[in-house]
């Protein structure tokens, strides 16, 4: 069984009676970790698996920086308990590139300079990947509306929209 090649591949296995073993397939790699019931998926990814690409912004589901894909759909990992996703397939921004080639959305964000500070970018890209897979957005208005769960405090929205349109055209 493949493992996440990180410093702590199976999470911190501190023997505490209140921690429960779960399995996740993260970016295609099966991993086991011990979590407390209150550990969010966001904290499990960042603190147990060292996958710090997924960002903690508001930690209240309002900013979208923590967006990841779970069994397909995009969700807010900050409002998700890891224990409830036992057995799920999780894709984070680290899992989008294939064989060293950037995902079309990652390339499009670079092409269009679709960020300034970059803190919201992993969430924007994962959210856009979910948006494209959902297939509900065609027009610029629809993309803006269905990306409204991702806040960019630098205000790079026009460039983010252009980047998503580029990736979407390629997807079609």
């Amino acid at each position: 069984m493949a493992r996440i090649p990180a410093a702590r591949p199976t999470g911190r296995t501190i023997p505490a009676p209140d921690k429960i073993p779960i399995s996740l397939t993260v970016n295609g790699l099966d991993t086991k970790l011990m979590v407390a019931p209150w550990t969010t998926l966001l904290d499990a990814l960042r603190d147990h698996l060292d996958l710090t690409g997924t960002k903690k912004g508001c930690d209240q589901g309002q900013c979208g920086a923590c967006t990841v894909l779970v069994d397909g759909p995009r969700i807010n990992s900050c409002l998700t308990l890891a224990i409830m996703k036992d057995g799920a397939k999780v894709t984070t921004v680290e899992g989008l590139a294939t064989n060293g080639a950037l995902h079309p959305l990652q390339q499009a964000f670079i092409d269009h300079d679709a960020f300034q500070c970059g803190y919201c970018t992993p969430g924007q890209i994962c959210s856009a990947a979910g948006l494209i897979a959902e297939g509900k957005a065609k027009t610029a208005d629809e993309i803006r509306e269905l990306m409204s769960g991702n806040i960019c405090r630098c205000g790079a929205y026009p460039n983010i929209l252009a980047a998503i349109q580029q990736a979407m055209a390629r997807h079609d």
Binding site: D18, P37, W38, G61, P73, T80, L81, M84, E145, M147
Partner: protein, 338 residues
């Protein structure tokens, strides 16, 4: 977050058994509101009973020509479901007016009904709030109350119910199916949520040991003449200042049946039988719509920061009824209000 125990429910009976055994426990499905409230320590359950794997995630046609929506159907799946788009577009539109795509992917149908108010003081454990802590007082009455109720409020509480989906369900006369230790029962949507009165800590008439299993829509869907018009401080991903679900059945220009439900104005989705009755049999024109608006708002009362909502609601009702009558429902992507 305060620490808690976690367990999974194997089936509906097991879920009900588990919650009956621990009065401080809570069910969790999507968790979008509950986890948030637990982080703020507004909710402090002893145990979370995970119902997310129960087989309550189907949309099925009923013998009576309606739909039975499982309590765990995600909001996004429901909004885009072909039968909803075809027969109950008002419901789909209202769902898409709420939250964000991520939250709609997570949030369940049953959980949407049990959302708690977004009153700032309810969330702020440093302030008095009768809903959070009975008899501690209401900070909103004389505090910041821009978001708050203009109808049906009490001395104890002027909070509003935050859901968009529930406003459409109220207009459509949905029913809520629940299971409890004594078996199953059905609650009319109008009886599901409560006005605050002296017990604002109780949002609904669901008993603590009951589980929502389904929401049922009757056959009448108002697919031809409807709109969901939501007015808010920013164009997307914000709670309503005022929202209006309007649905009409027309016989050429005469109103045969009218439904009007408002969100953002009260402790529950607000319907007014007199305002709806006043529309029936009248020509669908601005004079009739204004009459209904005035009737619905006859007892409206504003506070320091939300009195503007009374006029906003009046104009919104007239606009929404016009959109419904003209079969030009509000688009939830283009924000232009026509």
């Amino acid at each position: 977050m305060i620490n808690f125990q976690y367990s999974r429910a194997d089936n509906i009976a097991d879920a009900v058994r588990q919650i009956a055994a621990d009065p401080a426990a809570k069910f969790i499905a999507g968790g979008t509101n509950l986890i948030d409230l637990m982080k703020e320590e507004v909710e402090r359950p002893s145990r979370l009973i995970d119902i997310s794997r129960l087989p309550l995630n189907t949309v099925a046609e009923t013998a009576g020509g309606g739909l039975r929506i499982g309590a765990l159907v995600p909001n996004s799946d429901l909004a885009y479901h072909p039968l909803i788009a075809q027969r109950y577009p008002l419901l789909g539109s209202a769902i898409l007016a709420g939250a964000s795509a991520q939250l709609r992917n997570m949030a369940s149908t049953g959980g949407n009904l049990l959302q708690r108010t977004r009153c700032y003081y309810f969330y702020d454990t440093a302030t008095p709030c009768n809903k959070r802590e009975p008899s501690s007082g209401c900070s909103a009455r004389n505090g910041l109350n821009r978001m708050h109720a203009i109808l049906g409020a009490s001395e104890s509480c002027i909070a509003t119910h935050p859901s968009d989906m529930c406003v459409a369900l109220a207009a459509l006369d949905a029913k809520v199916h629940v299971a409890g230790p004594a078996g199953e029962r059905t609650i009319a949507f109008s009886e599901f949520h409560r006005l605050p009165g002296k017990t604002p800590e109780r949002d609904t008439n669901l008993r603590p040991d009951e589980l929502i299993t389904a929401v049922e829509l009757p056959a009448r869907g108002f697919a031809a003449n409807y709109t969901y018009l939501k007015i808010r401080d920013r164009l997307s991903y914000a709670f309503a200042l005022v929202s209006i679900a309007a649905a009409l059945e027309l016989d050429s220009d005469t109103i045969k049946e009218a439904r009007l439900a408002l969100g953002g104005v009260a402790h529950k989705p607000w319907r007014d039988p007199e305002a709806e009755a006043a529309l029936r049999g009248r020509p669908a024109n601005p004079a009739a719509f204004a009459l209904a608006a005035d009737l619905l708002l006859r007892d409206a009362k504003g506070y320091a920061h939300n009195a503007f909502k009374i006029d906003l609601a009046r104009r919104g009702i007239i606009r929404a009824l016009t959109q419904a009558a003209n079969a030009t429902p509000q688009s939830q992507s283009s924000k232009k209000i026509r």
